[in-house]
Each structure stands twice: as structure tokens, then as C-alpha cells.
């Protein structure tokens, strides 16, 4: 049977009267009602057009992985392990790949027992399994503001009430976290976990300082509160000293760790992992059995073969060197092309820069104009919030584009931002100074140095720091 025949056979037969559609709508679970704006989704779909320079992706670079190497590895896998690769595996993951995970985590000075590891289908599955394990409708999850946009559908699907905590250049404001936890306690609500990307945060680009890491772990212990540490980017550091993971500071009591091969090897393999206290891991394991029984044996064995045949650290080093150049290209372009009223974070690693424009510019609208007139795309900041904030910010990815495209993309964004500012000035009678035009000296008060709310000050401070 040809493909065409099959597609004809599965063509929907007469149906789709509005009544029938209503009937489906009546069957939908409550959780499907919590949806993000479809208008923004539609807008994001247009960023896929080939002529668009997209700084909107979250993609690692896969062009640097040599096809010959891929061919050799798959050939080796075929010779050594066809039967295993094509078979189901254990739910918690194949032992060979767990050994690789232990090795990767040791590179960040975090030492774990393979028995405490659950191999998952991408790191994203850990988000789902955490929610499945802990979240009843209405339960509170605490996250950063802004938070990883991809976590939002996972949290929403379980009808979590997500409370977002502000950040500055040193990551989550742990003081604000404590105040929020106090408030929630007064309201009789206990958060199920705190979700954080402490290192090179997506989308903020900032890193939780050592002092705050220590304090966050203390808070977790004092309050017996779980922390989900999402660490996809920790090994992609381009400057500065590595910081200990929350898991290593905690000793495995209140921190659940999420790792992934997506950013250090390949996102297409869809292999990630969780490290969690045993009782939590057991529940997540049960949850995973219901979702997919086990992650792909083929992908896991590919990783094991790769680790056996190649030095994975070399590839990470190669990626880091590439991304470091791209980050530099982006920071240079931002400094050159964005107007003075804009500000942005300066990541020491990872894949993202978070830029903030004057508050009267809505970046969702700006994206429409940028796409229409300049063929350039970014992620509007609102995608990283559940409470409608972030309207004047944007996430810019530098790992997935070539340096010349990054430069050209930022140049185009700069043009449309400038136009909007000039136009706003015309509308308001020729230029009320932007709210943050006054230079403010660096303040020891972390709230005043809030890089994400008042980023301009923080950027200046950071530049003077850099010496």
C-alpha cells in the first residue's frame, strides 16, 4: 500500500459539525483550559520562515558534530548491540548510560550513586514527572521571574499555581523567596517545590551566586522544602569560576537534580535524567512507567557508545569555544546597535541573553513588526511569565546562529527598537526621558541592583566590575 492510499484511508469521514466539536470540548479535561495565548503561538510559528534570522530558538549547534563520527558510532552500535538497542530497557535507564551520567556530574564536582539516577526522555520529562509526583490542582510551585518558558506548559498541565520570584544579576532573590514562603505559610499554602535554573538561567542569562546557593539550600532544609535544580548549561561556561551545584551543597536531601545530554551532546537524542532522594525517585519511576515505560534504548546506547569511543569533554570544550565567540558577538552587537534606553544581561555561559526595553514597548507587538519589516525574531518576554509581566523584555539566543547572523539580527532589532522609541517620543510630545535615564550608582541593596527589573544600572555596575 502506498503512503497515498493510507492517507486516503485515514482521512476523517463525515464529522466536524459544530455540535460534535462541542461534544469534544465538553470532554476535555479541566487542565486543558489553562492555555497560553494562541496569538503569540501563531506569531512564533512565523519565525520558522527560512528568510528569518531567528534569535528565538533554544537550539544547541548540531552542525559541529561530525557526520563521519556519527556514522562510525552508529555502525559500532549496530555491530555490538543491535538486539539491545531495539529492545525495551529498564524504566530507570540502562546501566551503561547511568555510568556516563555519573561521569558528567562528577565534572561539576557532584558525586552521585547510579542508583539515585532516573534516566528520562529529555530533561523536560523530569518537569512532567515532578509535577505528576507532587502537584495536585491548585498546588503552588515557586519559580524564577522570568522562568524557563518550556516549564510553563508542564506546570500548567497539572494546574499548578506558579508563584514567580524576581532575580537580579546574582540570580533568584532568596530574600524575596523567603518573604514569599512566609506569606504562603500565612495563607496556609505550602509550595510543593521551588523550580530554579541556577546556572546561566534560561531565559535570564544570570547565575545564582555562591552565597545565595548556600542560603537557598539552607532555606530548603529549614523549611523542608524541595528544590528542583534544572542544570542543562552548567558545563557551558565561558568565563568565571564554576560554582557548586545545589545538589552538591545539599547532599541529596531536599534537592532534586535535572540533567540532560541535550546541550553537551545532542538534543535530538532526547535523553535527560533526574537525581532525587529514593522515595521521590521511586514515585517518579512509577509515573514514568505510565508515560513511556522506558526512554529510548537506542538513544541511551548511542550515548554509552559515544562515551566509550570519544572524549565527551573535548566536544563540550569545542561547543563552549564556539558559543563563547557567539556570545561575544551578541554582546558586541547589542552594545553597538541597541539604543541607550535598552539593557541586557551578560551571561558567563549558557545560551541566552535577556534584554529589556523601555516599559512602553511591548515585545510581542515589536516581534510582529520585526518579523514583518526586518525578518528577525526573538522570544517576547511575556513567554517567561505566567502573570503577564515581562512585556518589555525579550530572550535572545546566541548558541544557534552564526556570528554574522547574530550581528545582523541584533542590528535589525536595534533598528526597529529605535523606530519605536522615536515614535513614542513623537506621540508623547518629543521625548519624556526614559524612567531609567538617570545614572544610578551601584547600591549594595540587591533590590536596587535588580538586573531584570532595572537592568541598566546593573549593566553599568557589571561593566565597572569587569575592569
Amino acid at each position: 500500500m502506498t503512503i497515498e492510499d493510507r492517507s486516503n484511508r485515514t482521512r476523517p469521514s463525515a464529522r466536524t459539525s459544530a455540535h460534535e466539536l462541542e461534544r469534544y470540548a465538553g470532554l476535555f479535561a479541566q487542565r486543558t483550559r489553562v492555555m497560553k495565548s494562541s496569538a503569540m503561538r501563531d506569531l512564533m510559528a512565523i519565525t520558522q520562515r527560512p528568510e528569518v534570522i531567528s534569535l528565538a530558538g533554544g537550539n544547541p549547534d548540531t552542525s559541529t558534530f561530525p557526520p563521519s563520527s556519527f556514522a562510525e558510532l552508529t555502525a559500532r552500535l549496530a555491530v555490538d548491540g543491535t538486539a539491545r538497542a531495539l529492545q525495551y530497557g529498564p524504566t530507570d535507564g540502562i546501566a551503561d548510560v547511568k555510568a556516563c551520567i555519573v561521569e558528567v556530574m562528577a565534572a561539576e564536582d557532584t558525586h552521585v550513586d547510579p542508583q539515585d539516577v532516573l534516566v528520562t526522555t529529555g530533561g523536560q520529562q523530569v518537569l512532567d514527572l515532578m509535577c505528576k509526583t507532587f502537584v495536585d490542582p491548585g498546588d503552588v510551585i515557586v519559580a524564577e521571574a522570568p522562568t524557563y518558558p518550556g516549564a510553563i506548559p508542564a506546570f500548567c498541565a497539572y494546574q499548578a499555581d506558579v508563584v514567580q520570584i524576581g532575580m537580579d544579576e546574582d540570580g533568584m532573590l532568596v530574600d524575596e523567596l523567603e518573604q514569599t514562603l512566609d506569606r504562603l505559610e500565612r495563607e496556609g499554602r505550602r509550595p510543593k517545590f521551588v523550580y530554579t535554573v541556577p546556572t546561566f538561567q534560561n531565559p535570564g542569562g544570570v547565575t545564582l551566586s555562591l552565597a545565595r546557593r548556600r542560603r537557598l539550600v539552607e532555606v530548603a532544609h529549614e523549611r523542608e522544602l524541595l528544590v528542583l535544580e534544572d542544570n542543562p548549561y552548567g558545563l557551558l561556561r565561558y568565563e568565571g569560576d564554576p560554582l557548586p551545584t545545589l545538589l552538591s551543597l545539599d547532599g541529596g536531601e531536599f534537592v532534586v537534580y535535572l540533567g540532560t545530554f541535550s546541550k553537551i551532546l545532542s538534543a535530538g537524542l532526547r535523553v535527560g535524567w533526574a537525581v532525587a532522594p529514593r522515595p521521590v525517585l521511586d514515585k517518579m519511576n512509577l509515573g514514568k512507567q505510565g508515560v513511556d515505560l522506558c526512554s529510548s534504548s537506542l538513544a541511551q546506547l548511542f550515548i554509552a557508545t559515544y562515551f566509550a569511543e570519544r572524549r565527551w569533554e573535548d566536544y563540550v570544550a569545542e561547543l563552549s569555544a564556539l558559543y563563547a565567540r557567539r556570545r561575544d558577538a551578541m554582546l558586541e552587537a547589542l552594545a553597538e546597535f541597541l539604543p541607550a534606553a535598552a539593557s541586557w544581561t551578560r551571561p558567563q555561559g549558557g545560551m541566552f541573553v535577556w534584554a529589556t526595553l523601555p516599559d512602553y514597548i511591548d515585545t510581542t507587538d515589536l516581534l510582529a513588526r520585526a518579523l514583518e519589516e526586518r525578518n528577525v525574531a526573538f522570544v517576547p518576554g511575556r513567554a517567561a511569565y505566567l502573570d503577564g509581566r515581562g512585556g518589555s523584555s525579550m530572550r535572545l539566543n546566541f548558541s544557534g546562529s552564526r556570528e554574522q547572523d547574530i550581528r545582523e539580527g541584533v542590528r535589525r532589532i536595534g533598528e526597529v527598537v529605535r523606530e519605536q522609541i522615536e515614535f513614542y517620543d513623537a506621540l508623547t510630545g518629543g521625548g519624556a526621558p526614559p524612567a531609567d535615564a538617570e545614572p544610578v550608582p551601584r547600591s549594595p541593596d540587591p533590590e536596587l541592583a535588580d538586573v531584570l527589573e532595572l537592568p541598566r544600572r546593573a549593566r553599568r555596575a557589571r561593566r565597572s566590575d569587569a575592569r
Partner: protein, 310 residues
């Protein structure tokens, strides 16, 4: 059996909705026994139409190019009959400002408005007139891009300080922006099929965020009631005014007229969609269904009106 090209997709901001409309239409046309040629419109549109020579084109495009007369003009040149309104009516519907002037000229009630292009602000000092506009329209003011079909870019300005940012948003989607008096009331839609008004649909927002336009046409966040719970007089009045509006703009075949039933009981026409959505949640199929016209029959009638007109 006819060979029917379904035109969908394109590069408008409503591309995704259009792809869904188009897929629904393709299924229906196949069930009706037609030979379907699906075209995601792009640079090769004219070449493909010339090569494939379909008997008719079913236009399932929304937004810029597809709904504003551009594609219709090309279809006229290539000589292929197409569904829906002709070039001039599409242009009038796609431009909310032109449409409102036409309503006003035809004595069809529409909320008071002013409209400007970007140059008026940049070169003619229109900003100085904002206070007068505010005074005449009263708050809240609805600010809309003139030629954007979806909810993108529509803003409420609750006071004078919110007007500039709302204008900036509107001009992000169009070089023409409409400032319109806000009518508090019930949100109605009347679809017209071959000169006959279908039952009235009411959109009832479920959330409490009255100002959130983007949630308006999403499942779950807006409930659609069809036929709307109106007394017979109000229903008849809404249908009559919708039909007048449809005729005033010269629409043909099918259209969807959006209107408000004000708290004061007065009806006002907001705009007309020349190519109403045909997705699983769109209002036209719901209204047709309430009139006993199933989806396939609806598609068949829209297609027939195109073939008859040619």
C-alpha cells in the same frame, strides 16, 4: 467532480488559523467528492494556478494578502472563480477604517472613531490632537490596527497615559490605527450565507479579565452561545443590521459581521470578516450548524456561490 484549489497559509500573522481552516475545508471537499489541490500560498501561487487550472479556488486565507483583496485580484487576472467576496469588498472589510466610513455613509450604527496613519503623528503633529480625541470618545478607548484580523495589537486605553503605548502597539501591526469608543455590552457575531443571516452567536468571556482580547476566541476562555439568548426582536434587529452591513460593503457569498449589543440596547457594527474562520472552533460553522447546515453542506454552499457567480 470539480478540481478545487484550497488556498491557505500564506505569510500573514494568521497563518496558523488559516492552515486549520484550510485543512477542514480540504476534508469537506474530499468528502463531497471533489478533487482537492491544497496550496500554501507563496511566490509560486500564480504559476501553480496557471499550471494546475483548477475549476475554482476556495479561499481559506486569513489576514494580509488573503483577505485584503490581493489574492482575489490575482485570481481575477488568472481567471479562476473563487469563494467569498470580490476585490473591492475584501479591501473594504480588511481596512477597518474604510469599513467604518462605509457604515457611517450607509447610516449603519458603528462606534465613534478617529483614525490616523503613522505619518500623521510623525510629520503632522497628530499627537497634539490626542486630547481632543480623548475628550470626544471618552475612556476607555479601544485602539486597533486598521488591517489586522486577529486580536494582536488591540489595546484598551483606560486613561490618557495609556494611549501612547496603545498606539505604539497598534502601529506595530499596521500603518493605520483606529481609536474607537468602547461599547460596553454583549459581543455578537452574525454570519451571512448567500444573503441570509444565520443564527446569532454570542461570545461570553469566561475569565474576569475583560480587557484581555487575546483570550477572547480561545476554547475554554470564551464560551460561545448559539443561538444567542436574545429576545426575538433583538435577534431580528441584529440579523437585519448585519445583512445591511454585509451589503453596504458589497460582500458576496459569505461573511461574518461582528457587532455589539450595548448595555443601552443599541446595536453597533464593529467590523466584517470577509473570510470567516472555518476551524473547529470558528463561529461561522457553529452558526451554520445551529441553522441545520452541517459543515460539509456549508462548504458546498460557499463553493456553489463562487461557481454561480462566475
Amino acid at each position: 467532480v470539480s478540481r478545487i484549489a484550497v488556498l491557505k497559509g500564506g505569510r500573514s500573522l494568521e497563518r496558523q488559523v488559516s492552515l486549520r481552516s484550510g485543512a477542514q475545508v480540504e476534508d469537506a471537499l474530499e468528502r463531497l467528492g471533489h478533487d482537492v489541490l491544497a496550496i500554501d500560498v507563496g511566490r509560486d501561487l500564480v504559476a501553480r494556478l496557471r499550471r494546475e487550472r483548477p475549476d475554482a479556488a476556495f479561499v481559506a486565507l486569513h489576514g494580509r494578502d488573503g483577505e485584503d483583496g490581493t489574492v482575489q485580484e490575482l485570481l481575477e487576472i488568472v481567471g479562476i472563480p473563487y469563494t467569498g467576496s470580490g476585490v473591492a469588498a475584501c479591501m473594504r472589510c480588511a481596512d477597518k477604517v474604510l469599513a467604518k466610513h462605509a457604515f457611517r455613509d450607509a447610516a449603519i450604527p458603528t462606534p465613534d472613531f478617529y483614525a490616523f496613519n503613522e505619518a500623521a503623528f510623525k510629520e503632522l503633529g497628530a499627537a497634539d490632537a490626542i486630547d481632543a480625541i480623548e475628550e470626544r470618545l471618552g475612556f476607555p478607548i479601544v485602539v486597533k490596527p486598521a488591517d489586522q484580523g486577529s486580536a494582536l495589537g488591540i489595546r484598551f486605553a483606560r486613561d490618557a497615559t495609556e494611549v501612547p503605548a496603545a498606539l505604539l502597539a497598534g502601529f506595530s501591526y499596521s500603518d493605520h490605527v483606529l481609536l474607537e469608543r468602547h461599547v460596553a455590552g454583549r459581543d455578537l457575531a452574525v454570519s451571512i450565507l448567500e444573503g441570509e443571516p444565520l443564527p446569532v452567536v454570542e461570545a461570553v468571556p469566561q475569565g474576569d479579565d475583560f480587557y484581555d482580547f487575546e483570550s477572547r476566541y480561545e476554547i475554554g476562555r470564551t464560551a460561545f452561545v448559539c443561538p444567542a439568548a436574545l429576545d426575538p426582536d433583538a435577534t431580528a434587529a441584529a440579523q437585519a443590521i448585519a445583512l445591511r452591513a454585509h451589503e453596504a460593503l458589497g460582500c458576496a457569498g459569505v461573511s461574518r459581521v461582528d457587532l455589539m449589543l450595548g448595555d443601552d440596547g443599541d446595536l453597533a457594527v464593529l467590523e466584517i470578516n470577509a473570510i470567516p474562520g472555518l476551524t473547529e472552533t470558528s463561529l461561522l460553522p457553529q452558526a451554520a450548524d445551529a441553522a441545520g447546515i452541517g459543515f460539509d453542506a456549508l462548504v458546498a454552499r460557499i463553493l456553489d456561490s463562487a461557481l454561480k457567480a462566475s
